[in-house]
Structures are given as structure tokens and as C-alpha cells.
Symmetry: C2
Subunit: 152 residues, 2 copies
């Protein structure tokens, strides 16, 4: 692969990371930073390298990086006056953890809804019960899978 192919591929991918992270509630810049730290060949970049490559202001970079570090998505290494950033390799199941929290929210909403129903046999009540059962099966299943993956 030619260097300029690689570079333009990286730039496209950085924007794709930005779009994906934006879709799950991050600032676009946060996603692009994560993208940059993911795709670049050197996997530890300075503040300056980040703002120059992404063409963003020092202000945004400072705010967004602080948030990413606080959320443990990015790790920071201080070297002299400079800060270097790299991707924090989190738990493999991070995505799944997030999804299970979502399932818990839905389960709570549906369960509370059923509690408030006068007719527990209403069409919606029965439907909600089915969803709750599916969620419960899912969680059991996932617990098993997590163990299996962890003991490889």
C-alpha cells in the first residue's frame, strides 16, 4: 500500500469513527480523536500532533481529551511539559456492558408499566412480558458466554 493511500484511508476512517461515536452520543471530535489514536501507526500521540492532524482548536482538544481520560477511554502519559495520549484498551465486553445497561432500562420500564396496568392480561401487558422473558434469557446466555471467553 502506498503511503498516500494509507494516509487518505486513515482520514476517511477517522471520519467514520467520528460518525459512529456521534451516533452513540459522543461529540464528533471525541470520535475523531479515538479514530486517530486507533488508526495511526504510532499509537501514542502528543497534544500538538492531535490538533494539527485533526485541524481542531486547542480549546476543543483540551476539553474533549479531559473527558475521554475521565471516562478511561484514553490514557495520558506526561513527559516533561508534554502530554502524550494513547487508546486505553478497555474490557473486551465494554460494548456488551453498555448494551446490558440498556436492556436493564427497558426491563425496568416494561416491568413498571405492567405493574401499573389494571388488566395484566391486556395485549400490551402480554407483549411486555414476552420481551422481559427474552431479555432474561439473553442475560443468562451472555453471562455464560463471558465466562467462556474469559477462560480461553
Amino acid at each position: 500500500m502506498l503511503d498516500n493511500e494509507r494516509l487518505s484511508g486513515q482520514n476517511r476512517l477517522i471520519d467514520d469513527f467520528g460518525a459512529y461515536f456521534e451516533s452513540i452520543g459522543f461529540q464528533p471530535i471525541a470520535g475523531r480523536i479515538i479514530g486517530l489514536l486507533s488508526v495511526s501507526d504510532r499509537e501514542e500521540l502528543s497534544f500538538d500532533e492531535i490538533i494539527n492532524r485533526l485541524k481542531i482548536s486547542k480549546g476543543s482538544a483540551s476539553v474533549v481529551l479531559r473527558r475521554l481520560v475521565a471516562e478511561c477511554r484514553v490514557a495520558v502519559v506526561e513527559s516533561g511539559r508534554r502530554h502524550y495520549y494513547r487508546l486505553n484498551q478497555q474490557n473486551l465486553f465494554e460494548l456488551l456492558d453498555e448494551f446490558e445497561r440498556m436492556c436493564d432500562s427497558v426491563r425496568y420500564l416494561l416491568n413498571t408499566t405492567i405493574d401499573l396496568k389494571t388488566d395484566k392480561e391486556s395485549s400490551n401487558a402480554k407483549y411486555f412480558n414476552q420481551i422481559i422473558n427474552t431479555i432474561d434469557r439473553y442475560k443468562t446466555n451472555m453471562a455464560t458466554m463471558r465466562q467462556a471467553v474469559q477462560t480461553i
Copy 2:
């Protein structure tokens, strides 16, 4: 349960539905309408009942309901001049479908990232490969669970 307890419980829950749906990218009003159609004892409500109970304008209701109907989250029944709305009972795995699409996006981002790496054995490349493996196991596992649930 007293009627006014039920009513205030419903109102709280409608706002909770609103917050949850907002967190996954819906307009707050969309979530509150879904909440209302979920918790109310009569499970089919007219346009007027919806705007009066939720205290929203005809305009918002019209726009949001059209979108919800287009997305098959809500079904509409026309009776004379009036439109009645009810929750559309979708596929039990709707939540899971959405999550699997997310997994596919992540898998694509990570896979493309690895392709662009000069060093396929870099720390991030190895980490991304692990995540891809976990996603693949997850999808296999889920396919099995779906079949199991469907054949009950």
C-alpha cells in the same frame, strides 16, 4: 392501587419512557407518546387524547406520529374522521437487531483499521483482533439463542 396513584405513576413513567427514548436518539415527544400508548389502560388512543394528555401541540403530534408510523413503532386505525393510534408490537428481538447492527459497525471500523496498519502486530491491532473475535462469538451465540426462543 388508587386511581390517582395509578395516574401519577403513569405520568412519571411516561417521562421515563421519554428520557430513555431520547437517550437512544428519538425526540423526547416520540418517547412520551410511546410511553403513553404503553402505560395507558385503553391501549388505543385518538389524536386528541394524545395531545391533551401529553400537553403537546397538534403540530408536534402530527409530525412525530407520522414518523413513528413510518418506522412501524405505532399503528394507526382510521375511523371516520378520527385517527386512533396503538403501539405496534414488533419483533421481540428489535432491541437485539439494533445492537447487532452496532456490532457490525464496530467490526467494520476495527477491521478496516487493522488493514491500514503497517504493523499488524501492534498493540492496538492485537487488541482490535480480540474484539473482533469476541463480536464473532457473540453473533454465533445470539443466532442460536434466537432459534431457541422462536421454537418455544
